[in-house]
């Protein structure tokens, strides 16, 4: 590990995309509107599909084209549509202005009750650094992608956990979970690119089922609490 050669265009490009995925994860922290968070999720998913296409082309893994297409169809198109329809549909019962806001998917995100945005981001940076360096130290070599990408994927997953913990509304917790899944997809591209397509498709199908159930439960929660906030989910203790 003395004189490190410059990375090839391929591995440099792959690392840049992986960093883009992590930046999208951080970007979710600063969004104040759910609609924008959904867009960012779609963009993040799009980056992962792009990386899959890159790997497929460079490493001659034609199955990954199919995976990239299916993954883009589900995570860039279907899931965001489901989420936006959900957010639009939740306007019922409120006053006019609220209804108008909700109709445009402008529902505000309830931030953390305990930490300011700046502190939350600092925490997320610390967590991401922890993930990055600890996984980097494991020296898990991948046949298809630079090991940096694996370290970044673990950072994405950890930051997604911070997002889920800090947010105080059900919709953005759900999006946090979905972006956690994106981090895991990234890890899968690095260390499990050759996994049989049928299993990958089964994972995606399973994600679809999970999204539908999340949607149902968010509707149920909104129906009872008249808001997306989790502030009143405190009755079960002890």
């Amino acid at each position: 590990m003395s004189a490190v050669a410059a990375p090839s265009v391929y591995s440099g490009g792959a690392s840049v995309i992986a960093v883009g995925v992590l930046l999208a994860e951080f970007g979710m922290f600063r969004q104040a509107l759910l609609r924008d968070q959904v867009r960012l999720y779609a963009a993040q998913s799009g980056l992962i599909s792009a990386l899959a296409v890159l790997v497929a082309a460079a490493r001659q893994l034609p199955e990954l084209y199919v995976l990239a297409a299916l993954s883009a169809g589900l995570k860039v198109v279907i899931v965001p549509i489901v989420l936006r329809r959900l957010l639009r549909g939740l306007g019922h019962g409120g006053d006019g202005a609220q209804q108008d806001q909700a109709a445009h998917g402008w529902t505000e995100i309830a931030g953390s009750g305990s930490l300011s945005l700046a502190s939350t981001i600092l925490l997320a940076i610390a967590v991401a650094a922890f993930g990055f360096f600890s996984v980097g130290a494991l020296r898990i070599a991948s046949p298809v992608l630079p090991p940096t990408a694996l370290a970044i994927s673990v950072s994405v997953a950890l930051v997604a956990f911070v997002l889920m913990i800090m947010r105080r509304d059900v919709a953005s917790q759900a999006i946090g979970f979905l972006s956690l899944e994106n981090g895991i997809s990234l890890a899968a591209l690095v260390v499990a690119a050759g996994m049989p397509l049928i299993l990958e498709v089964a994972f995606l199908f399973d994600l679809l089922v999970a999204v539908v159930v999340f949607e149902l439960l968010i509707r149920l929660h909104h129906g009872r609490a008249e808001s997306l906030s989790t502030a009143d989910l405190t009755s079960l203790r002890g």
Partner: protein, 497 residues
């Protein structure tokens, strides 16, 4: 045998479809018949599994370990299917009842289907998918009561369990990576070849996979510190669902951990996986025992007791001695029967007194001529009193602990189990034996109709009696077929050497 496996996968799914379409009465009957039939089918698998594994279509694989978990799930499926005949008839009678009942039965059958499917998967990816399917279906069942509490519990459950399963998915991916290093890039995550690769597997990814699997599947098994959804979901779900959650779902997640344990032991040797399980087991058992001492809600009481028993299972595996592992597998069966009984008894008490608060329930023994004593028996069985199955299994686990020279851990286990016994028995004592009038007048809620003596429904007693019979059989004299199955399963766990 292949026909049996196919039927076991097809029947509950078909029953779910029928329940969605058919009238309520038909759904009830079909569910009860399918539940009891499934248990019969699993019994038919026992002799074959005791001799060796059965494979089907590349993706299905049933061995002795799977059958132990199938027995637990199918027994409870049968029990709650019969119990629901009475439970639903008495729980609600409003306008939306037929819709509720249709959803309930469809969900119950699908839930049982997913839990029966998980132990039959030959492949770690499919196992993960099956466990994830159990999560989403059971989250909907937790929410089915449509109360504030149910909505809260379902949301916490689906979010925490899905996040945990995200970690388990990472574990699956690292297991693939480890396997692919030895078996080539087109390795399909089948379990058998991974186990055979054993010591040739690279250590770091296997360690990562095992750690993540314990944390990830441990979330659904109720291991500390990722157990927080468990008491909420158990207390807010309808009672038959609580029984399945506790007796089967937690066990299915434990099954997934056991599979990773097998791989980790084969690749790394026993030390690392056992140490990990011991830490999680002791912490879970300690926390559960403390929460049991002063618990105000009958269903949360039983939920923490489940956590206690999951801790015992993890500790039992960490001992590693063959007798301890046999005890662990017997414990899975005993816990399913005893916890199913306890929840079903608690369901009757809750219906009778109209409250889950322990302080509102008293004199159960007088008011419920059958369910009262049977609930008491279930609690005693859960506390590992002889002559029930859990006494035998815990005895074997402790014996295994001393045999493996884990004297301190075994002593800690005994102390914590005794602590849990104190909490559980004191609460049960209060609900069953404390005279009725003192509590009633103290509450001053005379306006609410005082409960009258009698059982709500015979259907809610029959499966509990069957559960007691099963516990007695397990405790007094396990049939030779079962002993052969457990011996084979212990052999499969790789301790024969």
């Amino acid at each position: 045998m292949l026909a049996v496996i196919a039927a076991l996968l097809a029947a509950p799914f078909a029953a779910a479809l029928v329940s969605l379409r058919a009238r309520a009465a038909a759904a009830r009957a079909v569910t009860a018949i399918t539940g009891v039939g499934s248990f019969g089918l699993v019994l038919a698998l026992v002799p074959a599994a005791s001799r060796g594994e059965v494979r089907y279509l590349d993706y299905l694989r049933v061995d002795a370990i799977s059958v132990v978990f199938l027995l637990a799930t199918s027994f409870l499926y049968a029990a709650v299917a019969v119990y629901s005949l009475g439970y639903l008839a008495h729980s609600r009678r409003d306008a939306g009842f037929s819709r509720y009942s249709r959803r309930f039965y469809a969900g119950l059958n699908l839930f049982a289907w997913s839990m029966l499917a998980a132990p039959m998967m030959s492949n770690l990816a499919l196992l993960w998918i099956a466990v994830e399917v159990t999560t989403v279906i059971s989250a909907l069942l937790v929410a089915i009561e449509d109360t504030d509490g149910a909505a809260e519990a379902a949301w916490k459950y689906v979010l925490i369990a899905s996040a945990g399963l995200g970690l388990a998915l990472l574990a699956t991916i690292f297991a693939y990576y480890a396997g692919a290093q030895v078996l080539g890039q087109h390795y399909n995550l089948s379990f058998g070849p991974l186990l055979q690769a054993g010591a040739r597997l690279p250590h770091t990814p296997v360690r990562l996979a095992f750690g993540l699997a314990v944390l990830g599947f441990g979330t659904k098994m109720g291991l500390f510190p990722v157990h927080t959804w468990l008491p909420d979901a158990h207390s807010e779900a309808p009672t038959p669902v609580s029984a399945l959650l506790s007796g089967s779902l937690l066990a299915v997640s434990f099954y997934a951990i056991l599979r990773y344990y097998q791989v980790a032991t084969a690749a790394l040797g026993p030390r690392f996986p056992r140490d990990v399980l011991l830490v999680f087991g002791i912490a879970s058992l300690l926390l559960a025992a403390l929460y049991l001492i002063d618990q105000g809600d009958i269903k949360r009481l039983l939920a923490y007791s489940s956590m206690e028993h999951m801790g015992i299972l993890a500790i039992g595996v960490s001992f590693g001695a063959p007798i301890a592992l046999a005890g662990v597998l017997l414990h899975v069966l005993g816990h399913a029967a005893a916890k199913g009984n306890a929840f079903m008894g608690a369901g009757v008490l809750v219906q009778k007194f109209g409250s889950k608060r322990i302080s509102r329930i008293s004199g159960g023994l007088d008011l419920l001529p059958w369910s009262g004593p049977l609930f008491g028996v279930a609690v005693l069985a859960l506390c590992a009193m002889p002559p029930f199955g859990i006494f035998r299994s815990e005895f074997e686990i402790v014996e295994g602990g001393f045999a493996a020279s884990s004297n301190v851990a075994a002593a800690v286990l005994i102390v914590l189990v005794t602590l849990a016994f104190l909490g559980l028995s004191a609460m049960a004592n209060r609900m069953l034996l404390m005279p009725r009038q003192t509590c009633h007048t103290a509450q001053g809620d005379g306006a609410a109709a005082a409960p009258v003596r009698g059982e709500p429904s015979g259907w809610m007693v029959v499966p509990v009696v069957a559960g007691v019979a099963a516990l007695l059989v397990l405790g007094v004299h396990p049939p030779s077929e079962l002993t052969a199955l457990l011996t084979r399963a212990v052999h499969e766990m790789g301790v024969a050497a």
